[in-house]
C-alpha cells in the first residue's frame, strides 16, 4: 500500500529528527547552540509526524484537526524560540566562543 509506505517514511523520519534534536540538546556547549538544536528540529519533526498521521486519516475531520495543530505549532514554535533567546540575552547569558571554552 502506497499510503502506508509514505506514512512509515514520514513517521520514522520525524522520530529520527526528534532523537537527533534530543542528542543535540546534550552535546552542544552552551544555551544558544542548544536552543538552535531544539528549535530547528522541533518544527520539522512535528510537521512530519502530523503529515504521516494525516495520510492515515485521509480527508476527514481528524485530518483537519491535525492541520490546525500543524498551523499552530508552525507559528508558535519559532516565536517561543525567539522569545527564549531574547530573554536569555536580556538575562545576561553570554554566547559561547572558542576562546572561553
Amino acid at each position: 500500500m502506497m499510503i502506508d509506505l509514505l506514512s512509515w517514511i514520514c513517521l520514522s523520519l520525524g522520530g529520527l529528527l526528534g532523537i537527533i534534536g534530543g542528542i543535540g540538546m546534550h552535546r552542544f556547549p552552551d544555551f544558544y547552540t542548544r536552543l538552535h538544536a531544539a528549535g530547528t528540529t522541533d518544527t520539522l519533526c512535528a510537521t512530519l509526524f502530523l503529515l504521516g498521521l494525516g495520510l492515515q486519516a485521509g480527508l476527514t475531520l481528524a485530518s483537519f484537526k491535525l492541520f490546525l495543530i500543524f498551523a499552530f505549532i508552525f507559528f508558535t514554535s519559532p516565536t517561543a524560540s525567539h522569545s527564549l533567546a531574547n530573554a536569555a540575552m536580556l538575562g545576561g547569558v553570554k554566547p559561547w566562543t572558542r576562546k572561553n571554552d
Partner: protein, 96 residues
C-alpha cells in the same frame, strides 16, 4: 507497528529533554527543554489518538498546543520580571 515505532521515538526524545531539564545549568536551558517536551507531548497524544482509534483525543492535543505556548511565555515573563503584574517599561525595578 508503525505507531509503536513512533511512540518509542517520542518517548526517547522526551527522556533526553527531561534529563536536560533536570541538569540544565541555566534556567533558560530548563525552559527550552520543557518547551521541547511539550511539543513532543502534543505529538504523543496525536499518535495515541490514532492507536486507539478515538479521534476526539486530537482536541486535547490542540488544547495542549495552546497551553504550551502560553505557559512558556508566562514562565519567561516570570523569570524576566520576577512577577506577573509589571509591564515591560520597568524591567528589573520590581513594583512601582
Amino acid at each position: 507497528m508503525m505507531y509503536t515505532v513512533a511512540i518509542l521515538a517520542i518517548l526517547v526524545t522526551i527522556l533526553l529533554a527531561l534529563t536536560r531539564a533536570l541538569m540544565g545549568p541555566t534556567v533558560y536551558d530548563r525552559i527550552a527543554a520543557i518547551n521541547m517536551l511539550g511539543t513532543k507531548t502534543i505529538l504523543l497524544i496525536a499518535v495515541f489518538a490514532f492507536v486507539t482509534g478515538r479521534h476526539d483525543l486530537l482536541d486535547i492535543a490542540l488544547v495542549y498546543a495552546l497551553i504550551n505556548f502560553i505557559g512558556i511565555v508566562a514562565v519567561l515573563k516570570l523569570v524576566e520580571h520576577g512577577n506577573f503584574y509589571t509591564d515591560g517599561n520597568n524591567v528589573g525595578k520590581g513594583e512601582e
